[in-house]
């Protein structure tokens, strides 16, 4: 693509974004509403424009796909899989192993309504599963939330970068709406950062001692130390990798916190309210983990009240409450099951909050 402006679906943009980010291998199982990702990557396989793109395979199951990604990532490759919510549940086993083995890999969840089969509508109900670990044991994923098709195109770059920098799985948590939405996107020239994998990748023990990628440690003290080291790494990520968008929060009395597709509806509502003189702003976390905790705390210390808008029953809400602490008003507007709030609903909610405050 390189610099051209193109009109793409979110899922297509993500696939091209991954290719531009130096994708080596893709393994996945089809699931709506994420299937344009494997479809695009199948179509582009063999395209000389992407010489680094070495392998595409439709796996027989979500489990097989994530374990193939684990195998490819063990060899130091830039490997990715994409899925949607029911499939993301099945990925958790692999992600728990990959985190403990400190493997850099990229997973995309184009979130749809749950639980169970739910439906194909947009939801953000996988926030907990994405940001709290999801699988068994103590670990975190780095979680990035795109709000536009442009971000679908660019976040794979950051996703692979953070995965290799921290040797940890990264999740791009999108949703059915952003995945299916068509918008103009640009792919600025990009050269993927080179990460030296020769110290750990399993490429054959030639002239060196063997590399063992393993999550098993029967010595409790050693395992205690290993997980401790992982959490030191996570602490560094918390200090250095927080990303968010701040929209008119400076003079705002009410700050609406929303991520992904919800934040776009909120932005419309903020514009409408501000045109009528209401001092309201949007705070949009781009990294859902590490969560922009200190930035929200700073806003809270300036006496602002908060409204969290999500396409779920209140998941990020808990992190916002933790961040701002006691004595701060945190209200919630949620829609779930594939239902999306309208701008008007958000506008009315903010107006009611203002009345209560007066």
């Amino acid at each position: 693509m390189g610099g051209n402006r193109v009109y793409l679906k979110g899922n297509e943009a993500l696939a091209y974004g991954a290719l531009e980010a130096g994708l080596n291998a893709y393994f996945a199982y089809p699931i709506t509403p994420s299937s344009e990702i494997p479809e695009t990557l199948a179509k582009e396989f063999g395209n000389k424009k992407y010489p680094e793109y070495k392998f595409f395979l439709q796996a027989a199951s979500e489990l097989e796909a994530i374990n193939m990604v684990i195998g490819a990532a063990s060899g130091g490759a830039r490997a990715m899989t994409a899925t949607s919510s029911p499939g993301f549940s099945l990925k958790q086993e692999g992600l728990s192993y990959a985190a403990c083995m400190e493997l850099p890999l990229l997973v995309v969840d184009v979130c749809r309504a749950g639980p169970g089969l739910g439906n194909l509508g947009p939801e953000q109900g996988d926030y907990f599963q994405g940001t709290k670990g999801g699988g068994h044991g103590n670990y975190r994923l780095i979680v990035l939330a795109p709000a536009t098709v442009q971000e679908m195109a660019l976040l794979p770059r950051l996703g692979f970068d953070l995965a290799f920098k921290y040797r940890n799985p990264t999740l791009i948590l999108s949703d059915a709406f952003t995945g299916q939405l068509k918008e103009d996107v640009e792919f600025p020239e990009f050269t993927p950062e080179h990460y030296d994998v020769s110290g750990w990748a399993t490429t054959g023990a030639k002239g060196r001692s063997p590399h063992v990628l393993n999550s098993l440690e029967l010595d409790y003290q050693k395992h205690f130390k290993h997980i401790g080291r992982m959490y030191e790494k996570y602490k560094r990520a918390q200090e250095n990798e927080v990303r968010f968008e701040d929209y008119h929060t400076e003079d705002a009395e009410t700050v609406i916190v929303a991520f992904g597709i919800a934040s776009r509806i909120v932005k419309g509502a903020v514009n409408r309210l501000r045109s009528k003189g209401t001092r309201v702003g949007l705070f949009r976390p781009i990294t859902l983990w590490p969560f922009p905790q200190t930035h929200l705390r700073t806003l809270a210390s300036r006496g602002k009240r908060f409204l969290v808008v999500e396409l779920n029953t209140g998941q990020m809400l808990e992190d916002v409450k933790l961040a701002v602490g006691d004595g701060v008003t945190v209200d919630f507007l949620g829609k779930w099951g594939g239902v999306v709030p309208t701008e008007a609903e958000i506008v009315n909610k903010v107006r009611r909050l203002e009345v209560v405050a007066v």
């Binding site: 193939m68 195998g71 060899g75 490997a79 054959g204």
Partner: protein
């Protein structure tokens, strides 16, 4: 009578570390470890070999094989192997899996690795039981066999009959080499009392080598190894060896099930 000459390498193998194995007395895992390492040495491929360790008694194999390792989740070794092989086709990749790992929880991964002719080598240790977890029923547990979860003997009407992994894999188009061997020493008749032969073990070494050669030729290779678990079978070691050679082989006949490239003839 034809004379067969076997060469057995004694002493240190470069594909093995100096760590003593944790395998129980009488267990064939130790023999399999030695045979695989000898095959890797003889083929001169140690430096490009990656072992995928599975969940079961062989999970600690990374302590014993002097090569790179990835320790997979339960049953997923062939998928991990396939993922690595696709980005590093120059590597020699093999897994050692138990009957529970490969023929129960990881059956899909095994079948699809074979189905796609993934150039990897899978060794399945069939000892008719879940050894590491303390002797529960395996897909290969014989009808009537007592395990901790079949205390009155395996009821095949409830649990199905014994799963024949070699037959199953051989039926898959993509599998290029399928062989079942026994690593249990065999009693032979002799005038001098009880005598045991290790001919089957020496033959198995050849099959293991072939399984690596098939991978190098671009095929999926599968070797099922019959072995004992005298601890969980609650049998003296030699009695357990006889159980393999008399009872297990009836359900799981040893021999060549498939050889697409004809490596056995070479």
């Amino acid at each position: 009578m034809t004379q067969v000459t076997y060469t057995v390498k004694l002493g240190k193998l470069s594909s093995l570390t100096n760590v003593p194995t944790h395998y129980c007395a009488g267990c064939e895992h130790g023999i399999l470890t030695r045979l695989i390492a000898a095959a890797i040495d003889d083929l001169g491929v140690r430096e490009k070999t990656v072992m995928i360790d599975s969940v079961g008694c062989s999970v600690l194999a990374y302590n014993y094989f002097n090569c790179d390792h990835i320790v997979a989740a339960h049953g997923r070794a062939p998928a991990v192997a396939a993922g690595l092989k696709r980005v590093h086709p120059e590597l020699m990749i093999f897994s050692v899996q138990g009957d529970g790992d490969a023929a129960s929880i990881g059956l899909l991964e095994l079948i699809y690795a074979a189905k796609r002719s993934t150039p990897i080598t899978v060794f399945l240790m069939n000892n008719a039981i879940y050894g590491m977890t303390g002797g529960q029923m395996a897909p290969t547990t014989l009808e009537g066999q007592v395990t901790t979860t079949t205390p009155f003997g395996r009821d095949v009407h409830l649990t199905g009959t014994e799963l024949d992994a070699s037959k199953l894999v051989a039926a898959i188009d993509g599998a290029a080499y399928v062989k079942r061997v026994s690593l249990a020493v065999q009693e032979i008749s002799s005038q001098r009392g009880k005598v045991y032969t290790i001919k089957n073990i020496l033959d198995a070494k050849k099959s293991i080598e072939n399984a690596f050669k098939v991978q190098a030729l671009g095929g999926f290779a599968f070797v099922e190894v019959l072995g004992t678990c005298s601890i969980n079978w609650k049998m003296p070691i030699l009695e357990a060896k006889s159980f393999v050679n008399e009872k297990m082989v009836k359900k799981f006949p040893v021999g060549l099930y498939k050889d697409t490239f004809g490596v056995e003839k070479q």
